[in-house]
């Protein structure tokens, strides 16, 4: 009996027992779907981080507030700092903070004194704000920045212009907006908003320019849902946090200079913050490079992949045991059929093959359904959730091979049981 005929017989049997077949396949389906989906998410995330690092340039350092133990990831630190300001303005007790904060003066000092290693420094203060334009309200992310921002962060204005040093010196109520803000306020990202007024926390600002869109960031955030204004304006008029900043971007003169720049900045900040050794344990700041973020992301992906592999292996084993169970039931149910086949000349190998093909057909079908579900899930995440997901064809092929292999492995015992049946005893079986 050739393979295709066996498969046809197997599939016919499976269709006549739909519910049982589905339940049997469930383990394989879940295992494969989860694997495909998580691999797609992991690949997508790591591609995005690589893209972000490439966009920012490898010679960028960022300096963050707080001791290392307070930071899980820079993103978490951001969430924590904006949360803190919100509670304090509500009069709720403020959770303990890092004793020293980065300040504008320190940013200025780094910019002025390490010319050999540092090209420019861009201190940033940020917070969530209410905005209104015409009758439309929204919340967005306000960042108070210096004029160095476009250079340090590889940003540019698409329309209009960035604000100038005199705007910063004069706490001017001017701003540059991201495309998402334009879209949210006017219903279209292409509306000309130059020179128009926008109310930020009820204060009127003039729009000077629109930022070139950057798309989705490394952590899935919309980088165009942002308003930039002079850092002084943000400190004194909106966020009311005088002179302390949330973080700074430092553009080094070259990649080679980054270790030295890191060392110079760290020594300076330790003196400035009156810190005692040992270092870096007692540091109340963190200095990261873009490549470090990349490495961190890769190690997160690695951990995730390991966990995922365990989940996948467990569900494939569970699925395989389910298949073995159902094949044993099938062999018992079809004992007479096996007897008939043997009586008319089926060899033990013919019977073995028939049941192996049947079990691997079940698991292969389960694998195909799992792949379909995983890919569908990935597409939905991409379309609806805006996630960056990449379905790697090699992971699909691997899933197919593994699921067929599970069927063969867990089918061996029931199939050899069938192949070893005595023809007369099998025919006599009721």
């Amino acid at each position: 009996m050739n393979i295709f005929e066996c498969m046809r017989v197997a599939i016919r049997g499976l269709i006549s027992n739909k519910m049982r077949t589905m339940l049997t396949m469930l383990g394989i389906i879940i295992g494969v779907a989860v694997t495909i989906l998580v691999v797609a998410i992991g690949e997508g995330a790591s591609a995005r981080v690589q893209q972000t690092v490439a966009d920012l340039g490898t010679n960028l350092l960022t300096i963050w507030n707080g001791p290392p133990s307070m930071h899980i990831a820079p993103a978490a630190a951001l969430a924590a700092s904006s949360g803190t300001s919100a509670t304090s303005s509500n009069g709720v007790p403020v959770p303990p903070q890092a004793p020293n904060r980065l300040t504008l003066q320190q940013a200025e000092f780094i910019q002025q004194n390490f010319k050999q290693t540092v090209a420019a420094v861009s201190p940033i203060i940020r917070g969530n704000v209410q905005i209104r334009m015409g009758g439309t309200n929204a919340t967005t992310n306000l960042q108070g920045v210096e004029t160095t921002y476009p250079f340090v962060n590889n940003a540019s204005v698409e329309l209009g212009s960035f604000f100038t040093q005199s705007d910063v010196d004069g706490n001017a109520k001017v701003c540059v907006v991201g495309e998402t803000v334009v879209n949210n306020m006017t219903g279209s990202p292409y509306t000309n908003v130059l020179g128009r007024s926008i109310y930020i926390n009820k204060q009127e600002f003039k729009i000077l320019g629109v930022l070139t869109p950057k798309g989705t960031g490394a952590w899935g955030q919309d980088q165009d849902d942002v308003i930039l204004c002079p850092i002084t304006t943000a400190m004194h008029r909106i966020l009311h946090r005088n002179l302390t900043v949330d973080f700074m971007g430092v553009r080094c003169t070259s990649v080679k200079m980054m270790p030295l720049a890191t060392q110079q900045i760290a020594s300076y900040l330790r003196v400035e913050h009156h810190l005692q050794p040992p270092f870096p344990q007692n540091d109340d700041f963190e200095i990261h490079s873009a490549t470090e973020i990349l490495q961190r992301q890769q190690s997160i992906t690695g951990t995730m992949t390991t966990l995922l592999s365990i989940v996948a292996v467990i569900s494939l084993v569970v699925g395989g045991i389910g298949i073995m169970n159902i094949m044993l039931v099938s062999v018992t149910e079809r004992t007479r059929e096996i007897g008939i086949r043997k009586a008319i000349g089926a060899t033990p190998r013919d019977i073995l093959l028939q049941f192996l093909i049947e079990s691997s057909t079940i698991s292969l079908l389960g694998g195909i359904i799992g792949i379909a579900l995983g890919v569908t899930g990935a597409v939905i995440l991409a379309k609806v959730g805006g996630w960056n997901v990449i379905v790697d064809p090699s992971s699909v092929v691997a899933a197919l091979v593994v699921s067929a292999g599970v069927g063969v492995f867990f089918g061996i015992y029931p199939a050899s049981k069938a192949a070893g049946l005595h023809p007369i005893e099998a025919l006599r079986f009721e």
């Binding site: 009996m1 007479r336 007897g339 008319i344 000349g345 025919l427």
Partner: protein
């Protein structure tokens, strides 16, 4: 018997002192207790005897479906006890066509596919043509796509005979092929066997009905696992004649 023996030098089947015992707890059942039979090409043998006398056990051994506890069995000159599982499967596939009392067709499988099955295992290329020819021979050329549950008992048994015929076996073995059938259908089955035997196919069948045994050329009677009688049939009944009579009776009943 000596008359038959003189015609053919070598028997197709030759059983010598065949024994088969089953151990049931501390009891030993001697289903076959030293059987000697020779069957020559072209014979049509009925194995008769009361229930439990060992007829099926003997047929299973002849059909290479079961092994004797001891004794020698030469099939076509080859000692069956020396064959491995693959050679036995090949013998069952190519040299023997087995017909069971309970038909033993694959359910939910068409008549043609059932008949093709031995050809599939025999890796024959022309299996569709052969299967159709075999079904036509048993008068079911118009039932190729019927499933067993869409056929009468007699028709199912004819499908089983077509399956046994499909790979041109040396011998057809039938264990109570009419046991589950009404008399008209039994007669139709016997007619097919007689036609096949006339074409030169060797047939060995089991029956406990003397009327059916009379259709064969030779009857072998066993009792308690031993050979009791081995005789040629006198006044052989031809199924074709009986069927004409039966149909006339049937017609009379319905015209009256």
């Amino acid at each position: 018997m000596s008359e038959v023996e003189s015609k053919q030098a070598q028997p197709m089947l030759s059983l010598r002192d065949i024994r088969k015992s089953y151990v049931m707890g501390d009891q030993v059942v001697n289903a076959l207790d030293g059987v000697d039979i020779d069957i020559y090409p072209g014979e049509f043998v009925a194995i008769m005897g009361p229930s439990g006398s060992g007829k099926s056990t003997l047929m299973h051994i002849i059909g290479c479906l079961d092994a004797p506890s001891s004794g020698s069995y030469l099939l076509d000159g080859i000692e069956v006890a020396e064959m491995d599982d693959y050679e036995l499967a090949n013998v069952r596939n190519k040299k023997i066509g087995f017909v069971f009392q309970g038909f033993n067709l694959l359910a939910r499988t068409s008549a043609q596919q059932n008949v093709e099955l031995p050809l599939v295992y025999g890796r024959r290329k022309d299996r569709a043509e052969r299967a159709i020819a075999a079904l036509e021979k048993v008068g079911l050329g118009n039932r190729l796509d019927h499933k067993p549950n869409q056929l009468s008992g007699g028709q199912q048994q004819r499908v089983a005979i077509a399956r046994a015929l499909a790979s041109d076996p040396l011998i057809i073995l039938a264990d109570e092929p009419t046991g589950n059938l009404a008399s008209l259908q039994s007669e139709e089955i016997m007619q097919i066997f007689q036609e096949l035997n006339d074409e030169g196919i060797t047939i060995v069948m089991v029956t406990h009905e003397p009327d059916i045994g009379k259709h064969c050329k030779r009857t072998v009677t066993i009792k308690d696992g031993r050979l009791l009688r081995d005789e040629l049939v006198e006044n052989r009944v031809m199924a074709a004649d009986v069927l004409v009579e039966m149909r006339q009776e049937h017609d009379l009943l319905h015209t009256a």
